[in-house]
């Protein structure tokens, strides 16, 4: 099966061919590298931009204004923070002009910890981004969703922020992308750029098919009855794994992959919490003014009398950075053990 990097690449190829994507660009996005995570190798509309994130977002807006359909990359979300004003501007352009202009543009950027990225390659961006109105925000946790969300993103008429959990980019999926060949090695031969000289290389694209993951729809990764666990991105597979482990201990957790952060699938969360009465939100952004806190607010706002325990958030510690040493990274953002503990504790709580 394709890994997430390949899945996004295939979706972008599909979008170039079928959805009118005109420019896939950013730092090192074009040849020879095709992206620091190989996500944009072999695509036909890629190009390398100057090292200037403000220019990247600004030019994406301009391309969208003139009828193009850009997918712009910020190499690491850690480097997006000098463009927040432009992201806000992109998000308010339609509203400020009373509907005169809209900006069909996608910005993609790797997020999160898990590759020993130290202070500036470990940031999360979900808290900051969900505070910016006018955008849609998605984050896949497996290759097939990554494929389907990118296709949906490239069909939107408004800005979409596509977050790539970098710890998951190299992980293979369990479901096949529609059109991808059966043989992984064949796939790699077809679409992964070779080592060494690439100047003559061209990707051989499989016959890919449309597949959409609708923006705003979550996914129940594991049904359960006792505790609801809502997560996304890097921590989602850990939550799924924790739920599996805990099933053996007799704890039956329902795990929801939110997939879209804005708009998000409140109906799915609501139905689950009405059933379980207990909910744990898990993400790895720093925990003060965190998007999970929004979800907790909405939970107590609308479901207070369904709750059998206080809703909980497990998130990154409120620290200025994630330290390089393993000891530091492990202590800073949720790991499997932390998730297990949190679910156990919540399951055990007696109202």
């Amino acid at each position: 099966m394709a890994n997430m990097a390949q899945a996004i690449r295939m979706a972008l190829h599909y979008a170039e061919e079928n959805l009118g994507v005109t420019d896939i660009f950013g730092e090192d996005v074009g040849p020879p590298l095709g992206g620091v995570f190989t996500v944009t190798q072999g695509l036909k509309t890629t190009w390398n931009s100057p090292l200037d994130e403000r220019g990247i977002i600004g030019v994406a807006m301009g391309i969208a204004m003139a009828g193009g359909r850009p997918v712009a990359e910020i190499q690491f979300c850690d480097y997006v923070y000098n463009t927040i004003d432009l992201l806000k501007l992109a998000g308010n352009t339609c509203w400020s002009t009373h509907g005169d202009w809209n900006l069909p543009m996608v910005v993609k950027t790797p997020v999160g910890s898990g590759i020993r990225g130290s202070i500036y390659h470990s940031h999360s961006f979900d808290a900051t981004m969900t505070h910016i109105p006018g955008w849609k925000v998605v984050i896949p946790s497996n290759p097939l969703d990554a494929y389907g969300l990118m296709i949906s993103a490239c069909r939107e008429q408004d800005p979409v922020m596509y977050l790539e959990p970098k710890a998951l980019l190299r992980i293979k999926g369990e479901e096949r992308i529609p059109g991808e060949p059966d043989d992984d090695r064949l796939l790699s031969k077809m679409i992964d750029a070779p080592l060494g000289d690439r100047s003559k290389w061209k990707a051989q694209w499989p016959e890919l098919q449309a597949y959409e993951v609708p923006i705003g729809k979550g996914k129940i990764v594991r049904p359960g009855s006792q505790v609801t666990v809502v997560s996304y991105g890097r921590t989602l597979p850990l939550c799924a794994k924790a739920a599996e482990t805990l099933a053996a201990e007799g704890i039956d957790a329902e795990v929801i992959d939110l997939r879209s952060l804005w708009p998000y699938d409140w109906e799915m969360i609501r139905a689950s919490v009405e059933k379980t009465g207990k909910v744990l939100y898990v993400n790895e952004d720093t925990e003060v003014t965190n998007f999970g806190e929004h979800l907790i607010r909405r939970t107590v706002d609308e479901l207070f009398y369904h709750l059998n325990a206080a809703p909980k958030l497990l998130a990154g510690k409120f620290l200025p950075g994630i330290g390089l040493a393993d000891t530091l990274e492990m202590a800073s953002v949720p790991q499997l053990g932390d998730i297990l503990d949190a679910i156990r504790k919540l399951a055990a709580e007696q109202p």
Binding site: T22, D23, W47, N48, P50, D52, R54, G55, I57, G58, V59, A60, M61, G62, I63, A64, M65, A66, G67, G68, P70, D85, L86, L89, T93, C94, W95, S96, T97, H98, G99, D100, W101, N102, P133, G134, Q157, D158
Partner: protein, 334 residues
Amino acid sequence: MSRPALVEKPERAPLDRELLVRMHDLMVEARVLEERLIQMYKAGHGFFWIGGPGEEAFNVSLGLLMKKGQGPAFDYLHAHYRQSATLLALGEEPIGALRQMKNTATDPYSGGRNFAGHFSKRSWNIAPASSPIEVQYAVAPGTALVQKRHGGDGITIVTGGDAGTAEGDFASCLVWSSRPANPLPILIIVTNNKWGISTASDGQHGEKHVADRGKAFGMRTKTIDGNDPETAYLELKEAIAYVRKERKPFLLEANVSRLYGHSSASGANFVTDEVDCLKVMEERLEQRGIMTRAQMDAVRTRWTEAIAEMARQAREEPLPAPETIWNHIYSERK
């Protein structure tokens, strides 16, 4: 360090009568519109005024020279908040600006949401003017890039003030417009009025001319007297022709005046120590025997009455309903 007041003297053939009369009419229209907006502000029919009195010679010329239409075959304008004269020269009705001042639901640019002078008109490629200084310079290369690929002779025009060039976005515009991999058809304009709100440019600019910053990028550059209507028109014409044809950037700096101060926040009172381009124009028209004082007065009277009438109309139109805040967060286009 102070700058020479006139950097360039017009030495070309004068513009023909018809064009000058047209320009004068538009300049008066723009001036009267801005003065009406100021009056509305002072009378409490609006919360804030900012606009372009003093820049009419340059801004009218720009509007007359633009290729108007929608899409990459036509010119894009990424303007700042002093550009009413350009809109009028393109053929816009003044009532829109009055409605925006009064923040009525009928405001065609923002539905009563944005400040005066914040135009937006997609059908003419007028990108929305937004309050943050200089961001338009980061956006503009994007439309130019699509135009380059599209072919034809459509160009992108971006304008902003002198103080704002200190923002990195101005440099980004120079960098992105002059990439050897893809030079862009973009006219980068700086209207230099020697002020950023209360801050004089003298202490802040190590550059002799802001336009000099383009030189390192191998760009054509020029600093012109934007207060002289003929110079403004002819220099713009030349710069636009170059960008249209060569598909390469041009950095044009126009020295202009700020005749009512920065905005209503600084009182919006007429200043007497700056060149008034409208006066320059009228003196020339009289000297050359193109229009008499009486004819020019008649033009002003005509616009004053017409715009006063429009202001009365705008004043009676309703504000947007509270629940409309929820409209247009996302596009309704499919």
